[in-house]
């Protein structure tokens, strides 16, 4: 009872905070189901349902009524706190302090009704989501999973409407789906229902038959498995090659940005994920790569005018060299100190580039413009749809290198250093060489990314290289899972691609990053797609005991 009120209060405060920082209102521009529910409401409902579920889970005893009562109470408290906000907003002008406490927010919270009815509806919504959460807790596991999967995919399809709609309409036969599923803003009601049934049926089928299919696959003869794998691989390559044609200009731009982050992430993954050296100044190498490219190719400064391909090796070499140079001083540092010093390095480089002192060589605050595009024969990597191939090639190359490095002697040395430097040294690993190689490799990848970035934008400015980029990349690899290559890709798509697609997200990007980092560290420190070793490491106590352990234990009792 007390517990559920407490959980409800926490949830209510979270909801009020979300409303006050303007997230709810910004998100309400987009409807999930047209005219029925917007993204902003969904956000609040999610908070209420999550807290209600928590309250149900924490209930002592297993009487269903009691559980339901607790989650209902929790939902009610969440609704009540929001109602308090609305009432307070009507009495006092909160706008003088909180910029987002404006009439549209209150209208949103009262569902565009009169104050009295609106608040009743708000409380009702709280109660309903509480009851829903309680039910969710009470139904058997399979049904819960199906419900969660299908509801979240409706939300997902609704949120990504801007991306899915144009893609569907490009393809003749799929245009019908488009009309059935979407209105101008949000899903149609019938579309949402259809989708729900479809996905529920699909996930039910998979839950029933999934294991059987998987074992069938495993039982297949080795040759056929190999053919299947090759087939999947070829399809993947074809899809990757065709992607910019299929997706159109805007989405190609988004993908190139995601691709640049994948490149950067793969580089930092070596430093942080493999070798365990938390580098917060990683943007420095990105800047060095980009500026080397700019200085060597741009006619504006007039020192050199090499082509992209001629300058690229120099960019990478400069990156590697600076990785070594900045790596030497920090060799003896660990953990926090390393993080702060690298952060300092990143800032020093940015301040130097920005200063008037180095302006004749680096362009100062105006940066360097007129960087030529890359050419390959007659093919010019001009727009995002062409640059995409350059980035894709870079990603594949870097991905392959880091995949090969992971299981190499060097890769294992890095992981040994990550686990315990002293022991690694005692085992004969040369700490200096190992760490410097990690810094150098990471820096080289970052410089490559920077060089492509410079050619993509055709200009470089010091403001493109601030500390936020470093933080973004750290977020990408941490959310994806430290040390995991697929994790980097997933992390980039989730943290870089999504905010690019959802324009209302852009404002709250770093808010979401911060939340994601904290939540990730508290709930799932190994990341979304963790590397096997790391998962085992962070969840040591949860690994089921082996038979021999159990025998020993029971033996000791006797």
């Amino acid at each position: 009872m007390k517990q559920s009120i407490k959980i409800g209060l926490i949830g209510g405060l979270v909801a009020v905070l979300l409303a006050l920082i303007g997230m709810v209102e910004a998100f309400s521009q987009r409807d999930i189901i047209s005219g029925i529910i917007s993204m902003g409401h969904t956000l609040l409902l999610l908070v209420a349902v999550f807290m209600g579920y928590l309250a149900a889970k924490r209930t002592v005893g297993s009487r269903p009524l009691r559980i339901l009562a607790n989650s209902l109470l929790c939902g009610l408290v969440v609704g009540a706190l929001l109602a308090c906000l609305v009432l307070l907003g009507h009495v006092v002008n909160l706008r003088t302090v909180f910029v987002n406490a404006m009439p549209p927010l209150y209208q949103l919270l009262t569902f565009n009704q009169e104050l009295g009815t609106g608040i009743l509806i708000l409380l009702g919504a709280g109660v309903l989501s509480g009851v829903f959460a309680g039910m969710l807790y009470l139904v058997p596991g399979l049904a819960r999973r199906i419900l969660i999967i299908s509801l979240s995919s409706i939300v997902g399809v609704g949120v990504l409407q801007d991306m899915l709609r144009p893609t569907f309409s490009l393809w003749g036969p799929l245009a019908i789906i488009n009309e059935w599923l979407y209105t101008a803003n949000g899903l149609t009601l019938s579309g949402a229902f259809g989708l729900f049934i479809l996905i529920a049926a699909g996930s039910y089928f998979w839950a029933r038959r999934g294991n059987a299919i998987r074992t069938d696959l495993q039982r297949m003869p080795a040759t056929r498995q190999r053919v299947l794998k090759a087939g999947v691989f070829i399809i993947l390559i074809v899809v990757l090659l065709a992607l910019p044609r299929v997706l159109g200009l805007f989405l190609s731009e988004v993908i190139t940005i995601v691709g640049l982050y994948v490149l950067l992430g793969l580089g930092l993954n070596i430093v942080v994920g493999y070798a365990g050296l938390l580098d917060l100044g990683y943007v420095a190498f990105f800047a060095i790569g980009a500026y080397t490219m700019a200085i060597l190719t741009s006619p504006e400064l007039g020192f050199f005018s090499l082509s992209f391909w001629e300058a690229l090796p120099f960019s990478i070499i400069m990156g590697v060299l600076s990785g070594v140079i900045l790596g030497i001083p920090v060799l003896k540092m660990r953990g926090d100190y390393l993080a702060i010093v690298t952060l300092g390095f990143g800032e020093i480089i940015r301040i130097l580039v920005l200063s008037d002192f180095l302006r004749p060589w680096l362009g100062g605050a105006q940066g360097i413009a007129k960087i030529p595009k890359a050419h390959l024969g007659n093919f010019e990597f001009s727009g995002p749809q062409q640059i995409y191939y350059l980035i894709l090639a870079g990603c594949l190359l870097v991905g392959l290198i880091s995949y090969k490095l992971r299981d190499s002697r060097l890769g294992r040395a890095w992981m040994a250093v990550r686990e315990d430097e002293d022991v690694a040294q005692a085992m004969g690993i040369n700490l200096v060489a190992t760490k410097l190689l990690a810094f150098a490799t990471g820096a080289g990848f970052s410089a490559l990314s920077g060089a492509i970035f410079a050619s993509k934008l055709a200009s470089v400015y010091p403001h493109s290289f601030n500390v936020m980029i470093s933080i973004n990349i750290v977020c990408v690899i941490i959310v994806g899972g430290m040390g995991s290559i697929p994790g980097v890709i997933v992390g980039s798509i989730a943290l870089v691609g999504l905010p690019e697609l959802l324009r209302e997200f852009a404002e709250y990007r770093l808010f979401v990053y911060g939340t994601a980092l904290v939540a990730m560290m508290l709930l799932r420190p190994e990341g979304l797609l963790p590397e096997a070793v790391r998962r085992r490491e962070l969840h040591e106590e949860e690994i089921p005991k082996t038979g021999s352990d159990l025998v020993e234990e029971s033996g000791s009792i006797k």
Binding site: Y337, G344, I471, L517
Partner: protein, 353 residues
């Protein structure tokens, strides 16, 4: 003997010493060149000195938070810069309301006290919540994890305040009492600088005696020596950790108001640079060491205001003041490389870092 020496010095050490020597030589050369050129009169130097002291004492107050938390938890509270920001930013609304109603001009001291109280309360609340929500569940996690959490919390707080109060700069109201200059013989001091220095000094003394003299202070010191032993001695370790965060939050809130009064504006990103500077100060004095943090803060403040004109100018660098932040960061890097224990370093040998 020679052979022994040769074995102990690695190539990296030599590289490091060469770099260090080169930087030291540059500093000396630059300073001598500036002094010979005589571009600045002694009034200029006095101004730099006072401004440096004022800034340094604010850094010292913030650095207390870093150093105390590092002492008890062995972690860098990366989000401390946001604890610092939250106080004056929230108190701005109180100050602005006082200003509008004319209360600020009629009762300046009383209203400043209220502003300080609000700022300190907000910062303390944020620090308390930070510990409770983000750090406590991770008490025994691997080292990297609390650090990443702290970075995440830092951004979360920054953008929460951005969402709450808006993204623009807010001009702190002018307190008439703090305007103007005071004349000491032939030197003049801005009144606000004097107030900041005195207020910060009082707060630092109060903090120091709290830590050194009271039972709670003693318990905090015990916890930072050895958590388990102090637990066995009957100290409530969790409570002491919370108290540490609360003290750090209070001093950060007070420092924030002083900073806002000095620079006259608040912004959601205002914590970042002073935060890193204060961290530098804490490291400079030897992190975990309380008098060290004070000394480090003041030293850094002086170094930063005197440095650009003292040695960068002499080297013929254009617009040296732009490189002020770079000096602080370079100094941080240099200390961590050459003397990670700091000036008064007693704790934190390499093995603990």
């Amino acid at each position: 003997m020679l052979k022994q020496l040769r074995e102990r010095i690695t190539p990296t050490d030599i590289v490091m010493w060469v770099i260090g020597g080169a930087i030291l030589a540059l500093i000396i050369w630059g300073s001598v060149a500036t002094l010979i050129a005589g571009r600045y009169s002694r009034y200029h130097w006095f101004d730099f000195l006072v401004f440096g002291l004022a800034q340094g004492s604010v850094y010292a107050l913030i650095a207390m938070g870093y150093t105390l938390v590092y002492g008890v938890l062995r972690m860098i509270n990366f989000a401390h810069s946001e604890v610092f920001m939250s106080g004056p930013y929230t108190a701005y609304y109180v100050a602005a309301a006082f200003y509008r109603s004319g209360f600020l001009d009629s009762h300046p001291i009383l209203s400043l006290m209220v502003v300080f109280l609000v700022a300190m309360a907000t910062s303390t609340l944020i620090a308390f919540l930070l510990e409770r929500v983000a750090y406590r569940p991770l008490r025994n996690a691997p080292r990297l994890i609390p650090l990443i959490t702290a970075i995440g919390a830092s951004f979360f707080l920054q953008y929460t305040f951005r969402g709450l109060y808006g993204s623009g700069f807010q001009a702190y109201p002018v307190v008439k009492l703090l305007e103007g200059e005071i004349v000491f013989g032939e030197f003049r001091i801005l009144r606000i600088h004097l107030v900041v220095i005195v207020a910060a000094a009082l707060l630092l003394i109060a903090l120091y005696s709290f830590i050194q003299r009271t039972r709670v202070g003693k318990a905090i010191r015990a916890v930072s020596e050895d958590k388990e032993a102090s637990y066995l001695m009957g100290i409530d370790v969790d409570r002491m950790i919370v108290t540490t965060f609360v003290i750090g939050g209070m001093s950060a809130g007070a420092a924030g108001v002083l900073y806002a009064l000095m620079f006259k504006q608040v912004h959601f990103f205002m914590g970042f640079i002073p935060g890193i500077k204060a961290f530098t100060a804490a490291v400079l004095g030897g992190i975990g060491n309380i008098p060290g943090a004070m000394l480090g803060g003041i030293f850094l403040g002086l170094f930063e205001t005197l440095g650009p004109s003292l040695f960068l100018d002499g080297l013929g660098i254009r617009a040296p003041y732009q490189l002020k932040d770079a000096i602080a960061f370079t100094m941080l890097v240099l200390i961590l490389i050459f003397r990670p224990t700091g000036i008064l370093g007693e704790r934190l040998a390499v093995k603990k870092a």
